[in-house]
Symmetry: C2
Subunit: 226 residues, 2 copies
């Protein structure tokens, strides 16, 4: 055990917060999002449930804060690779490898994300918070790809790239042979080559500005729910 | 009540099977995959649990059979639209609208799929069955796009298209404004324009033949599981 240091009030607060987040990450990884309890997270962090609630509104916010950390971490990696965007071929290979690595290594996290999404889908307030969160990586990728978007809306391109990545990750988790790691790079290459060689959006397709937490409120009623 | 008809043994068997599937679809929609019980499904169908088990190995197989029905139904729609592939622009608009419609209307089903996938991820035997199932839509889309793939592997292109679609659906469910329905068509256009204007795969990227139920068995150990 290290000798306890005298911490300022701010330092002590930050330490408690970090301990709670680290404990939440552990408990989520072990028990899933649904299975984790705030009691267990607080006790794992060496704090009371009261202390937990003085830092976070609950399990949802602990998860969303961890989400921010993961998103920032992933994006650092993407930005580092994209900074060499000039040498096209190499960049795609490097980016594809990085994405395949995320697909293969962050399996616990992606399972948690899936559970959380499932849980948020029936909770409109939480879904709004998740939607706001998803704008950060979307606008960051849009900024990266903007110089390569020709006449197309960078936010739309970013949304497609993220969609492509997430959709390939899901398929690769179910069936690794179906999604060779090179496919991440190949598919990105097709998409970006297509941007250069296709005309701009039709008039009806006005680019959506990045408006955090701004979902369409009046969702159309579904005709079928099968 | 209709007057009971005298059914052949085969007809009676088929009717029981269909009733069980219809009941399963209802109970899954109401209670989710995790919440549904075989008792409830059997009783809703007007049969015993024993009868259920004489037709299906359990809840998993009921879900997988419903999955097949949904996949076949979706694919019929895609094939109908793709049969007019010649008139490029119109086809993409029609295909995009169809995909956006699936995204918006099949919300109960896509939530069930998400739950089932989450459940299957920790059950290798079930994951293999799901992986085998996913090859059917993949090879069907590959067949459709093959004439438009230039030097690229149609199965890889199909995998990317399905990934793109699924990734956009997920984002649209969280944030409809972030994924305008036109984006499905736009992104498909970029991808297919890119196929025509990019070179074939690198030598290392040998096309994967469609091998149902043939996942790589020796999965690499993950370095991190964060």
């Amino acid at each position: 055990m290290s000798v306890p240091l005298r911490l300022s009030r701010g330092q002590a607060k930050a330490r408690t917060r970090n301990r709670l987040l680290a404990a939440a990450a552990e408990v989520f990884a072990e028990q899933g999002f649904a299975g984790a309890s705030v009691d267990e997270i607080a006790s794992r962090a060496g704090h009371t449930v009261g202390a937990l609630y003085s830092h976070f509104t609950g399990k949802d916010e602990l998860f969303l804060t961890l989400f921010d950390e993961h998103a920032a971490h992933r994006l650092d990696g993407v930005e580092e690779i994209a900074s060499q965007w000039e040498e096209d071929q190499t960049v795609f290979v490097a980016l594809g490898e990085y994405l395949a690595e995320i697909a293969d290594q962050h399996t616990v996290w992606s399972t948690l994300e899936m559970e959380f999404l499932r849980y948020a889908l029936t909770r409109p307030e939480l879904l709004d918070r998740l939607a706001a969160r998803w704008w950060a990586p979307r606008t960051a990728v849009a900024r990266l790809v903007a110089p390569h978007c020709a006449a197309h809306d960078p936010v739309a391109v970013s949304t497609a790239i993220i969609g492509l990545f997430e959709g390939l990750v899901t398929q690769r988790r179910v069936d690794r042979a179906a999604v060779p790691s090179e496919l991440f790079a190949e598919a990105l290459r097709w998409l970006t080559a297509g941007l250069a060689h296709s005309s701009g959006p039709a008039a009806a397709n006005t680019p959506q500005p990045p408006r955090p937490a701004c979902r369409e409120t009046g969702r159309k009623r579904t005709r079928r729910t099968s």
